[in-house]
Amino acid sequence: MSEFHDDYPSYEHMAHHSEEEGKKARRTLWNVFWIMLAITVFELIIGSMAPSHGWSGTLWLKVLFIGLTIAKAAAIVMWFMHLGHEVKFFKYIVLVPYVLFMSYTIFIILDEGVYSSDQENRTKVDPILIKQQRDLKAGHGHHEQSGSEHHEKPTETSHH
């Protein structure tokens, strides 16, 4: 910074690096990219295989997907956003409050989610939709969730 002539170091200029270091940095970045691409392709393959193999909604699949997501997120933050290159103390300033707060929030929904799944305790859902979903799960009319089949008229609509 040419305007200021105090004794403070210029962190903007400290970020500069040589041609050699740049080559190394680029190699790392491309490696991170290929790993992230591989993870995404893997996720999509598993995701498209899930329905026919009966994996949808299983716990291990959820854990796998969330784990891979966090791995990708860590790669972005550490290498693309260069948080890995910052001073240790700054790293913690960024990560610790966020991780603490999100863990707390996730704990709360996992805990309170018990009440939320209570069927009586939610806004009424269209009975046609419930029937369609039940038919879909039972297996008949797999690709016809679109309601072109005959529906019994529900005896009472639970809307109010």
């Binding site: 962190y11 329905p51 949808s56 290498w79 707060f101 939709l129 979903q133």
Partner: protein, 241 residues
């Protein structure tokens, strides 16, 4: 990369330098991103809560997002896979622009920032395309109870696509969360493209060359990577799980 070297912790707090070894602007960008990340975190947690509550009538993404441009067949999740690829790719071009900035290589900064802007704009366009198909829906539609103003009651009616009140694919809550969270993210991408473009013009003009460093590119890069980061989570929670 010699971004910052660790210094003695006693010395660090003696004044005359930042104990974080980081410039004010970059630090503030990080703090802004933490607050933005908390917003997205809150939105996604709330999404998880409602999804759990309506688990039995929640639509499956592979039944909803089946379209691919110029292709007649149903290709579940293929397009969103492509969108994710575009965004990750634009994140790489961004970080390459930052790297070129560290070497004061103006031409390379211009090149990589240009591709970042192209990638970002493509992503926003893809999202608009996906929204369009989600709103228009399938040809067959689905039977739902829809509120009739004249009769003052619910009547059975075939609905097509999704909006804030009816949803062909499942509960309306799915559409509400989809529009809100991907919309909020899409707006972030849009502003990212605009900010990137402004910085790009400054690079062309030689503003940063005169300044002697390309830290502005690095700061807008932080924001851009954050947008990618959020998408990684949106992708998992809306499309994969």
């Amino acid at each position: 990369m010699s971004h910052s070297t660790e210094i003695d912790s006693k010395q660090a707090w003696d004044g005359g330098q930042s104990p974080f070894r980081i410039s004010y602007g970059k630090m503030m960008m990080w703090f802004f991103l933490i607050s933005d990340a908390l917003t997205f975190g809150g939105l996604l947690v709330s999404y998880g809560f409602i999804r759990h509550k309506y688990a039995d009538v929640w639509p499956k993404a592979e039944n909803v997002f089946t379209h691919f441009p110029f292709v007649e067949q149903h290709l579940p999740l293929a397009y969103v896979g492509l969108m994710t690829f575009i965004l990750i790719m634009s994140s790489v071009t961004m970080v390459l622009a930052v790297e070129a900035g560290h070497r004061n290589d103006k031409q390379k900064v211009i090149l990589w920032m240009f591709w970042t802007i192209v990638g970002g704009a493509t992503f926003v366009g893809s999202q608009a395309w996906e929204w369009y198909h989600f709103i228009v829906g399938t040809e067959t539609g689905a039977l739902r109870h829809v509120w009739s103003q004249e009769l003052g009651t619910y009547v059975e009616q075939t609905v097509y696509g999704a909006n804030m009140t009816v949803n062909e694919y499942g509960v309306p809550q799915f559409a509400n969360y989809f529009f809100f969270i991907t919309g909020f993210h899409g707006f972030h991408v849009f502003s990212g493209v605009v900010i990137n473009f402004i910085i790009f013009l400054n690079v062309l003009k030689g503003t940063y060359e005169k300044r002697g460093h390309y830290e502005m590119v690095e700061k807008v890069g932080l924001y851009w990577h954050f947008v990618d980061l959020v998408w990684v989570f949106v992708f998992t929670f809306f499309y994969l799980l």
